[in-house]
């Protein structure tokens, strides 16, 4: 596929999503107001806990800011894949999209790229609002981008598995539900180190744990690439396993749906 064609497709998909979001004006505004309210709650929570509580040596409000901001970003990224398929099933566009000249994996990838872009804007807004609340940051740009990039790849692979599950049994939400229910293991609101040993081992098996750890080091403690090397290595291993697996599973479930006539089921 030509690059110009790919860019054109990316542009129309982003335009579709932007126009749709803007035409749901209330949801757009409520999303922004929700983020501010959440930050205010965390700000006052950290003040109530007091300056003595410094998990992993980090001021608590900053710890919460990065934890909740990135956890939501990654979870929404996973959800974006599911939503792409789910909305296309519900609006009846999935079958038609599958008959265009654009291959299904490219289509899902571009739709999700658009959703990730929107989520990145939300995350940036969240972090900027956090700065306004007085969260100190000492970012290392290279390390931050490396952890961020690998985290997005891993979230995309998990998202593609959720999309595949949606195609296969119309319950891709199970993946998001599982990720949503293990939030307390990932170090979002408190350090993983406070958990009992068996739970700490479970936490190590969740990629988001390593993403949050890496982002805190890179954004708040100016850690170099070597400083986040351990997190980068683990995220790379997750990516190596999950990316090919998710592509295979997605292609297989799509084939099964075309064979069974269940593409538009939801």
């Amino acid at each position: 596929m030509k690059i110009s064609s790919l860019l054109d497709k990316t542009a129309v998909i982003m335009r579709r999503d932007l126009l749709t979001a803007m035409r749901y004006r209330t949801g757009f505004l409520l999303g922004g107001a929700g983020a501010i309210t959440e930050l205010a709650a965390f700000y006052y929570l950290s003040r109530a806990v007091g300056p003595g509580f410094r998990p992993e040596g980090i001021e608590y409000f900053s710890f919460l800011l990065i934890g909740t901001g990135f956890y939501t970003f990654l979870l929404m990224g996973v959800h974006a894949f599911l939503q792409t398929v789910q909305e296309a099933q519900q609006t009846g566009t999935l079958e038609v999209l599958m008959t265009t000249s654009t291959s299904p994996p490219v289509l899902v990838f571009l739709s999700t790229l658009s959703a990730f872009t929107a989520n990145t804007v939300t995350l940036a807004f969240y972090l900027i609002a956090g700065l306004a609340f007085g969260a100190p940051m000492r970012p290392n740009v290279t390390s931050s981008l490396a952890v961020f990039g690998l985290s997005v790849v891993v979230a995309a692979a998990i998202g593609l598995l959720a999309a595949a599950l949606q195609l296969a049994v119309q319950k891709g939400s199970a993946v998001v539900w599982v990720l949503g229910s293990v939030w307390f293991l990932t170090g979002t609101l408190f350090p993983v180190g406070t958990l009992p040993k068996p739970l700490r081992h479970m936490a190590d098996l969740i990629p988001i744990t390593h993403s949050l750890e890496g982002m805190r080091l890179a954004l708040l403690q100016e850690a170099s690439l070597a400083g986040v090397g351990h997190e980068l290595l683990i995220l790379a291993l997750f990516a190596l396993v999950l990316v090919p697996c998710s592509l295979l599973v997605f292609s297989w479930t799509l084939h099964r749906a075309r064979l069974g006539g269940t593409l538009s089921f939801y």
């Binding site: 054109d8 035409r23 566009t93 079958e95 038609v96 008959t99 654009t102």
Partner: protein, 266 residues
């Protein structure tokens, strides 16, 4: 080379296995949608698929469009196999689906067409003109900038036809295209379809409507209970009544329908 060839095509829809049918209310086993159908559609012709509900007309169109895969047999579009060479087939086929729910509701007609045109690799510089032309030809030019969620059934149907034609496909599939159109709009649409072979396009149109079949078709294939019951070349002298008689003789449906009709008349 024929535009479309079906070689001994069979399609089964398998229902949920009895093992998962815990409450015993769902249908189990399988439905035979098409059985051993062989058909050739020459280039530049209009083939009308006639048949009652559930006879396999939509399944046939979905199989040609690659939305579905056959269980047995092969389908070729200008020599390209729909199972092994689906991407080439998708470049050649435009499909106007019967369902209204196949557009993005918060985009306008123009924005929807622009989106699908980009996915069909229509270059940006020619898209606007093509879209204007098709909106005009389908009588939607006055509603081009209206959000499609405000459209009536007939408008959705016309927009679906515009979408199917936008990539100037070699084969156009139309599933009950005038079902929701008023008589005037249907007549305009029939003119549009009659003009397509002159542009080198082959049309396969599924309908229950004998008037429509006679108005646009060169050839009729009658599907009944998933089997090809008969084929007929439509000459200029063949009228709607003759086609109706031929259809009921072929399918034997009249024997089932007549008692009900006479009861209704009493």
């Amino acid at each position: 080379m024929p535009a479309v060839v079906l070689e001994s095509v069979s399609k089964l829809f398998r229902h949920r296995p009895a093992l998962f049918n815990w409450f015993g209310r769902e249908r189990t086993g399988e439905t035979r949608a098409l059985h051993n159908v062989s058909l050739e559609v020459p280039s530049g012709r209009v083939l009308v698929l006639l048949g009652p509900n559930g006879s396999g007309k939509t399944t046939t169109l979905k199989l040609i469009s690659t939305m579905l895969l056959p269980d047995f047999g092969r389908i070729y579009v200008q020599g390209a196999d729909t199972t092994t060479n689906a991407e080439t087939v998708r470049e050649r086929v435009g499909f106007a689906v019967a369902t209204e729910r196949s557009f993005f509701p918060r985009l306008s007609a123009r924005e929807n067409l622009d989106f699908f045109a980009a996915l069909d690799d229509i270059p940006r510089k020619v898209r606007a003109d093509k879209i204007d032309d098709l909106l005009y030809r389908t009588g939607l030019h006055d509603s081009a900038d209206t959000l499609v969620m405000k459209f009536s059934s007939g408008m959705y149907q016309r927009l679906g036809i515009a979408r199917a034609l936008i990539k100037k496909p070699s084969v156009v599939l139309l599933d009950e295209p005038t079902r929701s159109l008023d008589p005037g709009s249907a007549a305009l649409f029939w003119n549009l379809v009659r003009g397509l072979p002159a542009e080198g396009t082959t049309v396969i149109l599924a309908t229950h409507n004998f008037n429509e079949a006679v108005a646009v078709g060169n050839q009729v294939a009658i599907l009944f209970k998933g089997e090809l019951s008969a084929e007929l070349n439509l000459s200029a002298s063949l009228g709607v009544d003759e086609l109706r008689s031929f259809y009921f003789q072929t399918t034997g449906e009249l024997e089932e329908v007549e008692p009900a009709m006479s009861r209704g008349g009493r």
